[in-house]
Subunit: 340 residues, 2 copies
DNA sequence: TTGAAAGCGCTAACAA
DNA sequence: TTGTTAGCGCTTTCAA
C-alpha cells in the first residue's frame, strides 16, 4: 500500500493539513515541523497520488494527441519526431501526454469527445489539419483549449503553428527552374488536407514567374506514404513524354518516387530531378540525398506544446498564430535538366 | 460545468446512489427508474469523470510506455509501428496510453519510479531490453505489472514477447552463403542491448555451418540509425579487401549502408549484398528493396499490450513468454557473390 | 427497490 | 502556527 498523507500525519503527530502544507513549502508552518514532515515523508517514500490531486484540482495535467493514421503499418517519421518534441516539452513542464491513433472519421471524433467529456485531458494538440476540420470546429465550439499544427480554410481565429508551405514550394519551383526544368510534375497530398492546397499553389505560383504552368494533369495525388510516391511516380514515368522533374509534397513520397525512377534505370539528379518536403532524417541519408524544404519538426512540436500549456494555464500567448519560414535544402536529388 | 451524478439525481428526484446503479445497469433498480435515469443522463450529456472513477477504484486504467531515444531527431519507424499496435489494442480494451521519451539512464529510471509511485499507470511496457536492464530489475523487485518486448541476460521469470533473433540471423547467414558469400561483415547494435548479442551470435552460428567465421574485426558497432549504418558501411568499404556482404542488425542501418555503397558506385545485390532486420515498411520500397527478416511489429505491440492488461486485471496468461519465429524476406539487395 | 453514509487521497477556506 | 471541516465525483457497503 502506498504511503498517504495520513500515514505521515500519524507518524509526526500532526494533522493531514499541516503535513500537506509543510510538503508544499507554505510558510505558515514552523520550520521545525516542516523539516520533520519532510524527512519523515522522504523516509517513508511518500509520493502524492496524482489521481487524488487531479480530482481535487479538477485538472488532468494531461495533453491529448490523437494521431491520424490509416491502417496498421503506421510509420511516419514525421510523426515520431513531432511526438518527441511534444513529449519532451510536456514532461519538462510537468504534463502527461495521452497518445492514441485513429483514422480520420467518426471514430476519431468520438475519441475527441470522450476525452473531453470524461475530463481525461486538459487540452489537445491537433495535427495534420484539414481544409474543413471537424476536430477544430468541435473544440472551438466548446472553447476547449487546443493548438493546431497547420491551418484550415477561411478565417482562422484559433492558435496554431504552421510552416509557410506556399513559400516553401515556391522555392522548390525556383530552384528547379534555375536548373532549366520546364516540364515539372507534382505528387500532391490528399486534397482534403489544407497543406495540400498550399503546396500545389506554391508550386504553381513559383512556376508562373517564369511563365511556366502546372497543368492539372501534371498533379498526381499521393497518400503521403512511400508506396504512394512510388506508385504515382511509376504512373508519371510511363507517360510518353514524361517531365524532367517531380516535386513531391513530402519526403516519404519523394523517396518512393526516387525508388521508382531508379528502378527504370534513371539517374536521379541527372536524368530526372526529384524533390521532397519536410526534411525528415532519412532525406539526408538517402541515395542520392534529397533536395527538400526543411521544417523544424521537433521544434514545432515543442512550441505547439508550450503554447497549449500557456493556454491551459490561462496565460496569454505572445504569439497566437505562428507561420515559420521554410528553408530550402539543396542536395543531390536535383540537378540540371537533361538536354534533348 | 460538466454534468455530474448529482445533477442527474436532482433532476430525477432520486439519490446519487440510485443514479449510479441505474447507469451501471444493476438489477436492483426498477426498470422505470433505470429508463428514466438513462434518458435524462443522455439528454444532459452526462459522461462520468474518469478522475473520480479512478480515484475511487484506485486504478489509473493507464498503460505506461517510455521510449528509449537519443537526441531530438527521433524517428524510428520501428517504434511508430509498435506504438500503433499497443495504442490500438489499449483503446479497444478501454485503457489509456501514457507515452514519453527518455534517453536510457537516470532520468529514464526516475520517470519509471515517478509513474509508479504517483500511481499514474497500472503497468508498463518495456521495449528494447538490455542485457542488464535496470527497468526490469526495478519493476520486478516491486512486483509492478509489466511486459517486456525482448529478453535480458540470465534466467528470465517475467512475461515477455520476443522474436527469435538467433534464428533470424542464422537464416540471413544461410541465405548469404547460398549466394556464395564467404567474407561477410556485420553492422551490429550497441552491445548493451540484448538482441545485439542474439543477432551477432545467430550470424556466427549460421556461418559456422559452412565453416565460415565472423572475426571480431568484421563486426562494426552501429547505433541503429540510418546515419550509423552509413558511417559504419563507409568504414567497411574503405577496407582494402572489403567483404562481399554486409548483414546489418536492423533495417535502418542496412538502408544507411546501401546509401554508402551506392555512393561508391557499387550496385547493391551485385557488387555487394546488404541485408537488414525488422522489415519496416521502407524496406520494401527502398531501391533496391531490402532482403531482411520480418518481425510482425504491429502485432507484437498488440500482443504485448493484451498480455499486460491480462496481468493487470489478474488473469493468468496462457502464454507468459512468447518467442516468435522469424521469416526471411528475400528481396533485391542480396544476390550472388561477385567473382574475382 | 432505494437512500444514507463512508471513503478514495488530496487541497483549501476558515477558525482557533 | 495549527487543526477542523468541507468537498472534488464517484462507488459501495449497509440499512431501511
Amino acid at each position: 500500500m502506498p504511503v498517504t498523507l495520513e500515514d505521515i500525519a500519524k507518524r509526526v503527530g500532526k494533522s493531514i493539513t499541516t503535513v500537506s502544507r509543510a510538503l508544499h513549502g507554505y510558510d505558515d508552518v514552523s520550520p521545525e515541523t516542516k523539516e520533520l514532515v519532510r524527512s519523515v515523508a522522504e523516509e517513508m517514500g511518500y509520493t502524492p497520488s496524482t489521481l487524488a490531486q487531479r480530482l481535487q484540482k479538477k485538472r488532468s495535467d494531461t495533453l491529448g494527441l490523437i494521431l491520424p493514421t490509416f491502417g496498421p503499418r503506421f510509420s511516419d517519421p514525421f510523426f515520431s519526431e513531432f511526438l518527441a518534441g511534444v513529449g519532451n516539452q510536456a514532461s519538462e513542464q510537468g504534463y502527461d501526454m495521452l497518445v492514441s491513433t485513429r483514422a480520420p472519421g467518426e471514430e476519431e471524433m468520438n475519441a475527441y469527445r470522450l476525452n473531453v467529456q470524461s475530463r481525461r485531458v486538459d487540452g489537445f494538440i491537433v495535427v495534420r489539419t484539414r481544409r474543413q476540420d471537424t476536430r477544430i470546429d468541435y473544440l472551438s465550439s466548446i472553447e476547449f483549449p487546443f493548438v493546431a499544427f497547420g491551418r484550415t480554410e477561411g478565417v482562422i481565429d484559433y492558435p496554431f503553428v504552421d510552416e509557410n508551405s506556399l513559400l516553401g514550394m515556391r522555392m522548390i519551383a525556383e530552384h528547379l527552374m534555375g536548373f532549366g526544368h520546364q516540364r515539372i510534375a507534382c505528387i500532391s497530398a490528399p486534397p482534403y488536407l489544407m497543406f495540400s492546397e498550399y503546396r500545389i499553389r506554391g508550386l504553381r505560383e513559383g512556376l508562373s514567374k517564369d511563365k511556366l504552368y502546372l497543368p492539372d494533369d501534371m498533379v498526381f495525388e499521393g497518400d503521403l506514404t512511400l508506396r504512394g510516391g512510388y506508385e504515382q511516380a511509376r504512373g508519371i514515368l510511363n507517360l510518353s513524354d514524361y517531365p524532367t522533374a517531380i516535386a513531391a509534397c513530402n519526403d516519404l513520397m519523394a523517396l518512393g518516387a526516387v525508388s521508382a525512377a531508379q528502378e527504370q534505370g534513371l539517374v536521379i539528379g541527372k536524368d530526372i530531378s526529384i524533390t521532397g518536403f519536410d526534411d525528415i532524417p532519412m532525406a539526408e541519408h538517402a541515395h542520392p540525398p534529397l533536395t527538400t524544404v526543411r521544417q523544424p519538426i521537433y521544434q514545432i512540436g515543442r512550441k505547439v506544446c508550450e503554447m497549449l500549456i500557456d493556454l491551459i494555464q490561462g496565460r496569454s500567448l505572445e504569439e497566437r498564430q505562428i507561420i515559420l519560414e521554410p528553408e530550402l535544402v539543396v542536395r543531390g536529388s536535383s540537378g540540371a535538366a537533361p538536354q534533348n
